[in-house]
Symmetry: C3
Subunit: 351 residues, 3 copies
């Protein structure tokens, strides 16, 4: 396990910052977070799911973060708070700050003379930055990233190695692009014209709001005419495809392998499960949750959880059952016919 970052905090320091109450020795010194199972003396762990209460009893963690109802489930030094998982997230962020930025431009970067790179930004080897592009203070651009002409990257961003941003796209502040991310490639815009596809120039941009994170190998296409917009605080996992002209509402989280076809608008505070496929030109309202591996062929305006996830079975059982799906209409017809015949039969009998 990675152990970078060796800041030391006492439990009393932590509750001073984040609230909550210490039970037990408030002077215990903490240097890292860990799972209940692997934590040792300098580590703080947490219980967010009561399934793991057994592990809480057995943990050797220096301290743990628990909810009030679990405060007595251990005698280890502990912080009692409302939401142990969110609390743990804050503590982990405190113990594992991003590495300090070493500002400067590597000798083997290719920066267009008209580009503006802030003095406090760090540009690694093999980065290319196009004409009139801009990289803000505190931003890190790792090896092999390519930023096209007129790209704007805000402050305190982190572009991991080999990320690509096409010309004219806009990246807000504190945005994270992981490796292999492609922002602003052409949308799939084609017109059928005389026996062949005519490409439609994609002249919109991609605009990413502040605090957006984009996972490895995720792609967000530029707009055909207007922009593709990812609003502030949106979190995208790996291998997601977002088509041209989409708008993803603020603070929506999308898990890996999701595809969203062009011109669809997803609301704020949505949660979309891994592998879901969302059709084009749809409207998904705020606070909609879509299950993993679910296909969405139509708009969903009402908040709630939606799914089309199928049960899995041993192959032989499945083949036997699934074949009937093709004949459901006939089966339903036979049922209606039976109902009519039985009603008639019962009618006669009661005559």
């Amino acid at each position: 396990m990675n152990r970078r970052g060796r800041n030391v905090y006492r439990l009393s320091d932590i509750v001073h910052r984040f609230g909550g109450e210490v039970l037990g020795d408030a002077d215990v010194r903490i240097t890292q977070v860990a799972t209940l199972e692997t934590a040792g003396a300098g580590d703080i762990s947490f219980l967010a799911n009561r399934r793991y209460r057994k592990q809480l009893e057995q943990t050797r963690a220096g301290a743990v973060i628990v909810a009030a109802e679990d405060a007595d489930a251990t005698r280890r030094p502990r912080i009692v708070c409302k939401d142990p998982y969110a609390y743990f997230a804050r503590v982990s962020a405190l113990l594992n700050p991003p590495p300090a930025v070493s500002p400067g431009v590597h000798a083997l970067a290719a920066i267009h003379p008209s580009a503006r790179v802030a003095a406090g930004a760090a540009i690694a080897a093999f980065v290319s930055i196009g004409a009139d592009a801009e990289v803000g203070e505190g931003s890190v651009v790792e090896a092999g990233c390519a930023l096209g002409d007129n790209v704007r990257v805000g402050r305190d961003c982190h572009l991991y190695a080999n990320a690509t941003v096409y010309h004219d796209c806009v990246i807000g502040d504190r945005v994270i692009l992981h490796s292999g991310v492609i922002i602003g490639a052409d949308g799939f815009g084609l017109a059928w014209d005389g026996g062949r596809w005519q490409k439609i120039p994609q002249i919109g941009r991609v605009v990413l709001g502040d605090d957006v994170e984009v996972g490895a190998n995720t792609t967000v296409d530029r707009g055909a005419l207007d922009d593709t917009v990812i609003e502030e605080g949106v979190k995208l996992d790996n291998q997601i495809q977002i088509g041209h002209n989409c708008r993803i509402g603020a603070h929506t989280a999308i898990a890996g392998c999701v595809g969203i076809a062009g011109s669809t608008r997803v609301g704020r505070y949505c949660r979309i499960g891994g592998g879901a496929m969302i059709g084009g030109h749809l409207e998904i309202g705020d606070n909609v949750e879509i299950s993993a591996a679910t296909a969405v062929p139509k708009s969903i305006l009402k908040p709630g959880t939606y799914t089309s996830l199928f049960p899995i079975s041993p192959r032989q059982d499945w083949l036997r059952n699934a074949s009937h799906i093709r004949h459901l209409d006939a089966l339903a017809g036979r049922l209606r016919s039976l109902e009519a015949r039985l009603a008639e039969s019962e009618g006669k009998k009661n005559d």
Copy 2:
């Protein structure tokens, strides 16, 4: 929105090139395309879907492209033509030509001495080109692209930043590879041999025909023994995976996130919806349309539209209904039994 390209055309210039008829002022000057909603005085817009007729009435576009049946739905200067969407595509291509190529090889490119780069090609920084490789006239290879030994790239191609082409692969003329595209990685060829997987060398190539476009992060594997072939005019969206030995017929269009397993042949003029998964060793005929998110476990020889897309429901409804799928065979059996019993009962009654 991106506003590069500032060519000016009058409506009369446009119909002179592309046909159609101007109604209203043929001297209106146009510099860009836009949606009905956002277009202003110098913009031309279009109506391709009658759903947007209301927007046509309200548009402030300098001109619009419409079909004959909508010619009277606006009094703005307009071009009347048969297929407004294809016409718009041509006008947009006219107004937004690709940027001029600035030929030359960047000082920080790594070109093998035996490679042949045409004088009119543009090779950016951090591009590596292997032994005996070839890049044709007018082709652009952006930053960070890697072309292996003996790769052949035709004329007027555009390889966006960080695309990769493995050794020996062939790229036709006017091909577009977007960022993150991987052409010619090894196919998934393995033989189970004494308790472990034995890798089978993948000695075929990938051959891309003329006018192919490949979307961001799409992968096309090299053939195991023979070649993987993408015929002319095929359009591939982002994040597609095409397995070894596949052949994709000319002018087929495939939307994002599709997977096609090895040795499958897809015909000409097919359209495959986003997220569809097509099995290996299948044959898909010409003019087949496959819906989004549809799994294709067997060959489809007859033209038509095929689907296995499931209805989506609120989670609670869904759980209640989906559980029956596992028991459809039993349910169908009970129905048959009821039919027999009722027939017997009716028989008795009629005795």
Copy 3:
């Protein structure tokens, strides 16, 4: 087709190495493998599937590899063995050895002074290697790869162009990473905290065992607290996403476009079909086979083949049948009611 590698072997040389028996001229000289259809005089082909027996009769291959029961199906020189496909794999590996490694570090690579690159490793242009990183003897790192601080790459590995490995990750011996692979990006770890997502630092690593192969554009996320582990001999195809904290058991093979959500453990010797989506926090036992395009929402502990792959139909048929799925519960209720009524009716009649 690619014809690199021009070693020559007689059939007698081959059986001397790999066993089996020659029928016909054991002095036939072989330089390459090929399909039955395309093989010529210097090629050896194979019959592994009796569907192709017709092609065996017509082949012009210099020699073929067949099972005992097909030994008489051709009069060409042939090697008779138990498992022609595995035998063919070995012969192909013999005829197509990896190109010799040309050790050395390219002048345009950026290697941190504290990194340790073995004298026999080959580092191409535009490769960046971070502080304290290590690359073992005989390993090849192609153009544009980025290895973060403290990465360890073992011996005889091959990292194809534009692969990325994040800091602290460990790559075993004889590992192949294809282009666009991202090892060790942050997992999707977020806590909902006061109306916004709080990022949870991902402090685990990715550890890849010996003889692992990872296909183009596949991503494996680093662990949140503990490591993500891919055990020895695992084969991953293209465009796969493996979430944080997963463990994939030795010798498991996973086809393209599969997604595995975080904290799931997959056993040894599993085979997972293309496009399958496996949920998080699940346990998949050893020797489990999962069909292509199947969603797995719960653990599978018993060996066997599991599927939820749906039948595909012409769109009109499908729409008619699929609509009933939403009403299966009502349909089952009507069936139960009919059964009760008929039983009552039959009871009365027998009274």
